[in-house]
């Protein structure tokens, strides 16, 4: 192991990444061959932001996400950002079924095999293993006096999911650049082709022997199509205002229209009898449209040696979900370039109008229903701390540790007597660890 020449190695990594980025763009890489990524023709070198994040829920999902972002200013205020994100997901996710006083058997979403859930345990589907690759590019430049435009593209691919997106944003500075008004538009097209295909709404989950010769045909009867898509159109209007030498604020209104397949093909609802005992599992069904609005306000204040960052978001949609989010960061500058930044976030949401924790046998089937706790009544909080420091040559290193806790709530559903001792709204706790390095 070579411990010397650390500085030279870092420069070489940066030069190699600059060269690779230039090669991808097909541009002149003369500047990248310079030891520090600099030349007379292009005085601003590439800069890179990298991060690795580990997200771990107790007994449920784990995700590992790595990201690298390459940034460059080409001419005066012409900026290019290219970002690559790779993440892997493993573990178990709540299926929507309720826990029972007896063992429960479920068929995997693929139709290949079954799994059992012990009595008194929240049913989790441990089928999820996925790797996602995401690419983003964003170009920003002035388009006139006090006017700037930005255009970006997005591509994200998983084994069973493809997302393509474009965005455009225009901003206008006035009042000595103390006020900036902006308008943005984005459009995403997502295609979902889940393994085992997309189930029919409210079809009963087939339970039995998947080695039986009739199994494949019977399972196919519960399926609708092999893939479906959704489109998302967002409009974002923003106003940023410098208040004084120490304070800046931002206000946004955003409108989002989602159209297409919005159901989760892996989620089910338990169908219970009067005693609360499960008779069946049926696949969930959500409306094919959702319109969301949100108001967002943020303010940042620079005290003598600390910076306070407070934001609030109010979101409402036509699924009757309303949510409040308060996010606060307080940065304390320590000696040298070291700092520590505590973080607190509170989140509270009401349930979608078609959310219900289970269906009752013999009752009229609703038009839509989902037992996914993520669209049920819930509150959540995040507590975290970030510690960062500057290194040589403008390099920066930061560590972030956070604890995220979700508490789903009963939004007024009567719990069957036989399930009285069970927690149908089990909380989820997660730990988030992130290391960031910029150079």
């Amino acid at each position: 192991m070579q411990l010397e020449d650390n500085g030279a190695n870092k420069v070489n990594v940066k030069a190699a990444l600059s060269l690779a980025t230039c090669a991808l763009l097909g541009s002149d890489s003369a500047d990248a061959q310079e030891p520090l990524g600099q030349s007379l023709a292009s005085p601003t070198p590439w800069s890179f932001d990298t991060a690795v994040l580990l997200y771990t829920e107790a007994d449920r999902v784990s995700a590992l996400e790595a990201m690298i972002s390459a940034n460059k200013e080409f001419d005066d205020e012409h900026f290019l950002t290219l970002k690559l994100t790779i993440d892997t997901l493993t573990g178990a996710s709540a299926s929507g079924a309720v826990e029972q006083p007896q063992v429960q058997t479920f068929t995997r979403p693929s139709g290949n095999g079954q799994y059992q859930i012990a009595a008194g345990t929240t049913p989790l589907d441990d089928t999820f293993h996925d790797t996602r690759v995401q690419l983003n590019g964003q170009w920003t430049q002035p388009i006139g006096k006090d006017l700037a435009a930005s255009i970006g593209a997005h591509l994200s691919k998983e084994f069973d999911y493809l997302s393509l997106g474009l965005n455009v944003n225009v901003s206008y500075d006035f009042n000595l650049k103390n006020t900036t008004a902006s308008a943005g538009f984005s459009h995403f097209k997502d295609t979902f082709s889940p393994i085992g295909e997309i189930p029919k709404p409210f079809a009963s989950m087939l339970i039995g022997n998947s080695d039986d010769p009739t199994w494949d045909n019977e399972f196919a009867d519960t399926r609708l199509i092999d893939e479906d898509d959704k489109s998302t159109t967002d409009i974002l209007l923003g106003l940023t205002q410098v208040i004084n030498r120490r304070m800046i604020t931002q206000f946004n209104y955003s409108y989002s229209m989602v159209d297409g397949y919005l159901t989760d093909p892996f989620k089910v609802l338990s169908v219970l009898n009067n005693q609360g005992i499960s008779q069946d599992f049926v696949y969930e069904s959500r409306p094919s449209e959702r319109t969301k609005h949100s108001l967002f306000a943020q303010s940042k204040y620079h005290f003598e040696s600390t910076i306070l960052d407070v934001s609030y978001r109010y979101m409402w949609d036509d699924w009757q979900i309303k949510s409040h989010t308060v996010d606060t960061r307080w940065r304390f500058n320590l000696q040298g370039s070291h700092y520590i930044e505590p973080h607190i976030r509170f989140y509270d949401q009401s349930a979608a109008e078609f959310y219900q924790p289970f269906l009752l046998h013999g009752k009229t089937q609703p038009a839509f229903a989902s037992a996914d706790y993520r669209i049920g009544e819930m509150n959540a909080y995040t507590l975290g701390v970030k510690y960062g420091l500057g290194l040589n040559n403008d390099e920066k290193l930061a560590f972030r540790l956070e604890y995220y806790s979700q508490q789903p709530k009963n939004s007024g559903f009567e719990q069957p007597v036989s399930l009285a001792d069970f927690d149908l709204y089990e909380g989820v706790d997660a730990v988030i660890l992130q290391v960031s390095y910029s150079f």
Binding site: L53, N175, D234, D264, L295, H302, I321, Y339
Partner: protein, 73 residues
């Protein structure tokens, strides 16, 4: 409640717009605002956080585009 919040937000926005001329700093007073840590967004942290909360909660966006992007569970 909702219409009241919308009204309050509209009033605040109008007051801010109307009062913009009286707010702000001269170019030579931007020493603190120009610091990197006074930027309204940390792009990397925000992007990672957005992915987590998009996957685990019913709300997304607000600060930037909510978008689609993953079949997250």
């Amino acid at each position: 409640m909702l219409s009241m919040m919308k009204t309050v937000f509209a009033v605040i926005s109008l007051v801010l717009l109307g009062g913009c001329a009286g707010l702000g700093v001269q170019p030579w007073e931007r020493d603190l605002l120009a610091k990197e840590e006074m930027a309204l967004t940390n792009a990397i942290d925000s992007s990672l956080d957005d992915h987590i909360y998009f996957s685990k909660e019913a709300s997304s966006g607000g600060k930037s585009f909510g978008g689609g992007g993953c079949g997250c569970n």
